[in-house]
Symmetry: C2
Subunit: 472 residues, 2 copies
């Protein structure tokens, strides 16, 4: 059997494992699985079959069936990805974990939550909050993404400065390997020096080494007080430059976010609401949190003073609902203007963000294309939306790789990386191959070959070991 | 050439790379490299040759020479390990990174320190403190261990509850692969979703996948205030049971340490100083830190109340110098009583520590052997010193594996692991093989085979892929 094709017999076997109802082959049911949040048709592919197992045991049986028959598998969580990692570009069976959506245990004494991978991140956050605890992972898509997908992409989000990314929240993972074996990595303990930390290899491997079927995350104490500050500057340089000053003042913010003026203007149009200083402002949003209102007030004063010294146009305590609605609308606002756009997700040392953004802005003039910048100043993660607008798909596909090439060369010179939190998936696989460090890539390929020798677990994503060709 | 033997020609080549002075072959110079902190002669082996490169380039050249000639390499940092990971049990060349001892950069704005691996952990702590910043990694051996060794074993220590272990501090690693290639993994940024996180695979791999030649660690704001509390209980159960109560009260301590009464008595003898409640006490030491003295005072009151409700014999604000001297003397006190002893390093969910310790205590009676418990209650990491005392080496070698077997079966039943922070090395390799999860072990072996196909980078440590036999 050719890899990637699924025979009627296989479909029958799949139905025996998960029940007829949970094997989708009808076009209308398959459509939502043909893409993620990337709206470029280049990164969409109609799925042949989607299977929805309800348990680890069912996942294991499905995987064993595929393994024995050399069938490609594509693990999929909520489909909110931004790198086409969960799209069946190379055919095969999409294994969706959406039915595995139960929180199994909130263990107050060990300060952990044990959950199935299909639980929505915001649901997890809310459930533990009811118990007075805090799950610190917080991707912008928290209302729709699943915790399993967060693990697969090592989702970052807004609280990484203080709490770290998804990786720092995970204490244990149950994984189904490409041959269908089930293994628990890590557990309900913070320390572990028992051999290679495979758990950390699986985190961020985007479903190319196995399928996550259970997650143990750490919980922390809910901070008692929280405050959001908005500082507005007339240049992005000045805005970003505030970040190290705040961190050097002995303050550990929860996050430091930024939006450039073009992004603010676009969000204003999208929300149809006047935003502060939208005429010429660039935003820095700083969230601070802690157990002492006095300390927060002090930190607030320090930040105010630092911002004004840095020639801020305005510094104010922000209404969190308003300011975060604006920040989180960044992506949707750009999508509303130009359905097709490319969202880049670079990381550089935070002090180099101004230079990176300046160099990247020049590309906007050079290619006469709209580019909006926003992101996470506190951890060096810059999102750049490159908008297709009314270009033809052909013009777009010719121009985009040139711009990406120039961006990634800037990033490489700065010691940065292609993706901070969205992952490589299919979208950036060839870009990683081109702009990544060849020694590092060879090591990654060795790992992939070792752990998925048949190359059937989400092949052609992250790294290509076999020059996979997309199915027609 | 047989693997593990080093010819005079090879020694000449080594001298050409690092200089004659930095290739040791004299018995007296080799002696310190024949062991780590494990005092059992079973885990010692006279080294044949030790080479001390001064730079990444020299490390790379040495590794290439060994690779081309199939010679076993044993990377070594300060030799303070507790698992014989850096001892040349299987012969070959010890590559010591002790000359690579410069802090390269304290980058205030990016809040990172870039350092060579041979810098002593406490030196790193002190140097960044001079700049008003804080390096949170803090193994008990901080005054002597190197940061490179911390990375190799993913050293834990005393601040893991609040700040995580070494892994959580590391942002970037320069690594020399088993074939001598140099690669930079990670960098000066908190977020990274650019392919497999090989950096996290290398952290804790105990020099079996390559040699760390540069480390980038994150720095955080120095907490303004700090307080150490000592709560004393008449049973260890009651002592440990305080931990989840404190953490559930909305307090995130820096650490929660414990010492059982036998340990306290032993330390008292060793230090020749009266310790509080040494007659019948079991200690819980809680460190809290933060930016508000008021909040610390509040937390202090809450802990006091919780401890008294839990029938504490005494609760007091401790003199940090005194209490930490006692806690850190645990290992030396046992060594002073019995030069040969085995320090176990299990992890279990923290709520199961009392049950684990109770079951383990019974082994002390069963085998009529002294066993002292202390460790890190806040992260489930329990050290158990099993003392040889006046047994013969033969009796000891017969008894110890039986006790370890019983301990590890208890740990496995509790979903725990063999090592929380000391690593597997050579000492626990066969124990991991016996008591580890076979699926997980097979995955580890696949990774080792993939990244060190010649099996020359610290073979026989952590996992054995070739049934290595120690050299005579």
């Amino acid at each position: 059997m050719a890899k990637g094709t699924v025979s009627p017999e296989i479909i029958e076997e799949l139905k025996k494992i998960v029940g007829e109802k949970y094997v989708y082959t009808d076009k209308d049911k398959l459509e939502p699985y043909s893409h993620d949040e990337v709206t470029d048709p280049h990164y969409m592919k109609e799925a042949q079959v989607v299977v929805l197992p309800a348990s680890t045991e069912e996942v294991s049986k499905v995987v064993k069936l595929c393994y024995d028959n050399d069938i490609v598998m594509v693990p999929r969580a909520a489909g909110t990805g931004l790198a086409a990692g969960a799209v069946a570009i190379f055919g095969g069976v999409i294994i969706s974990i959406e039915r595995m959506n139960k929180i199994l245990e909130i263990d107050m004494d060990n300060m952990v939550c044990v959950t199935e991978p299909g639980v929505t991140t915001s649901v997890l956050q809310e459930e533990v909050k009811k118990k007075g605890l805090f799950y610190a992972g917080d991707p912008c898509s928290g209302d729709s993404c699943f915790i399993g997908g967060n693990v697969a992409t090592n989702a970052g989000g807004n609280r990484a400065v203080k709490y770290g990314v998804t990786r720092e929240q995970v204490m244990g993972l149950e994984v189904v390997t490409p041959s269908g074996e089930v293994v628990m990595l890590g557990g309900k303990f913070r320390k572990n020096a028992t051999g290679y930390m495979l758990m950390h290899l699986y985190i961020g491997s985007e479903g190319t080494l196995g399928i996550v079927t259970k997650v143990i995350v750490r919980l922390v104490a809910l901070p008692k007080y929280q405050m959001d500050l908005l500082a507005v500057f007339d240049t992005l340089d000045a805005a970003i430059a505030l970040t190290p000053k705040v961190m050097n003042a002995g303050i550990t913010p929860v996050c430091v976010e930024f939006m450039d003026n073009a992004s603010i203007k676009q969000v204003e149009i999208f929300l149809n609401e006047k935003l502060q200083h939208s005429d010429n402002g660039n935003y820095i949003i700083i969230q601070i949190a802690g157990d002492s209102e006095d300390v927060l007030d002090e930190q607030c004063e320090i930040i105010d003073e630092l911002a004004r010294k840095n020639n801020a146009l305005d510094v104010l305590v922000a209404n969190p609902a308003v300011i975060w609605k604006s920040r989180k609308a960044y992506l949707e606002a750009d999508r509303a203007r130009s359905l097709v756009f490319s969202m880049e997700d670079i990381v550089v040392p935070l002090t180099l963000i101004p230079e990176a953004v300046q160099l990247i802005s020049r590309l906007s003039d050079k290619y006469k294309v709209a580019m909006h910048c926003a992101g996470h100043a506190g951890d060096g993660n810059v999102h750049i939306d490159i908008l297709k607008d009314d270009r033809t798909q052909e013009e777009w596909e010719e121009m985009l790789p040139q711009i990406q090439g120039e961006i990634y060369e800037i990033v490489a010179r700065m010691g940065g990386r292609l993706s901070g939190e969205h992952g490589i998936g299919y979208k950036r696989e060839s870009l990683l191959e081109k702009y990544g460090n060849p020694i590092e890539l060879e090591l990654m390929k060795k790992v992939k070959r070792a752990l998925d020798p048949k190359n059937i677990m989400n092949p052609g994503k992250v790294i290509s070991i076999n020059d996979e060709v997309p199915v027609e």
